[in-house]
Chain length 215, copies 2
Amino acid sequence: MISVAIVDDDPIVCSSIGTILTATGTAQVLWSAHDGETAVANYRRHAPDVLLIDVQMPGIDGLEAAARILRGDPDARILILTTFADPDYIRRAIDLHTKGYLIKQDVASVVPAVQAVMAGQVVLGAEVLGQLPLHVAPREGGAPGESVGEDPRFAVLTDRERGIAALVAEGLDNREIAGRLYLSEGTVRNRISDILAKTNISNRTKLAVEWLACH
Amino acid sequence: MISVAIVDDDPIVCSSIGTILTATGTAQVLWSAHDGETAVANYRRHAPDVLLIDVQMPGIDGLEAAARILRGDPDARILILTTFADPDYIRRAIDLHTKGYLIKQDVASVVPAVQAVMAGQVVLGAEVLGQLPLHVAPREGGAPGESVGEDPRFAVLTDRERGIAALVAEGLDNREIAGRLYLSEGTVRNRISDILAKTNISNRTKLAVEWLACH
DNA sequence: CGCGCATTGTGACATTTGTCACCACTGCTT
DNA sequence: AAGCAGTGGTGACAAATGTCACAATGCGCG
């Protein structure tokens, strides 16, 4: 039987997650805690198979607690639970090598997540991948009061065109873009040609530069 | 009851995955196929809740098939199965917005994966995250006194080459650069060719992107 | 001085990129 | 039903880019 521990400052959340896990026969709850320090201390004495831990908590937050636990036990299976798909949190969770980052919405969804983690997989909430900076590292803000917004120049582009423009801005050539998007190279050329015409930019390098300047 | 379809060129794999899913009461197998074309055609007529598809296959591969299916049904829940954690495959799978990328090792592990996907999550094999090129966004805020420095990549360049690289990073084409520096266009081409060779960068757009990333 | 290096240049060539005309399909609106 | 925008595709062609071989100049250095 899988054993889990649940850490969330809201006792209701703890108990409802605990209930669904036990009621479905998925796992038994070894212990639960409501703050990070307690969680770390408990983990050292009674390590569960999977630790479910909230990010927002009084004292040290869930990610900090996860980091401390992983320092003592690098193989700890930790699932981060949270209400928001904050890119920074997600990033830190992944860097920590936690086994997942779930958006708390449907309590029942933790059941397959726990099972998947026990099967050696990593589970992410659906919106999470979109938040990952897999593409271009955003250039830092720079101008203080003034947020980047969106260059009106690119406003005329369709979603698809924007996607291709972003890949151009990663420095990919047409063949690479075609491969990435499963398109023919000819189509990529056509699309880029359209983009350049719409934005009144003369070549792909300028497009990349302009795109990076405001994304 | 969840319905799945299974696509793998090896019939043994298809049937063993099918067996474990039905035996555990997880899902019923709508159909299975052994190549990409058939899978795409079948999907259009009988869309399963979740499609499990292998990468390596005769004809169009699993990712290509997934791309075609997603073109017709952007919400298709597709799980990629494979033997290798190839970074390029993983990257492409994620770009396609498939619901997961599993390493085929333990047949039983598809069970929680399918359930997690039905719960709206994304499932990745354990080794997968490590393969992702999560190139660290130069999250500033780092050491204050210490500026970006200089990418060691550009350290080998001469002053002249650096000047030309900077103009490339402004998006100028060869004719414009030649005009700006009072050089012949041929010389500019040679210089840029040298820069690309020295820095091991494949084309001017990539050069521009890299240059901007650290200047 | 001779050597290496950076710089500028030419010409030829292969590859990549951009443009254009035209086709097919889908989903939406009129 | 017809029109339209968005998307994906082909083929041909022109222009830009990148590579290579080779040559000439100037500059600093042992």
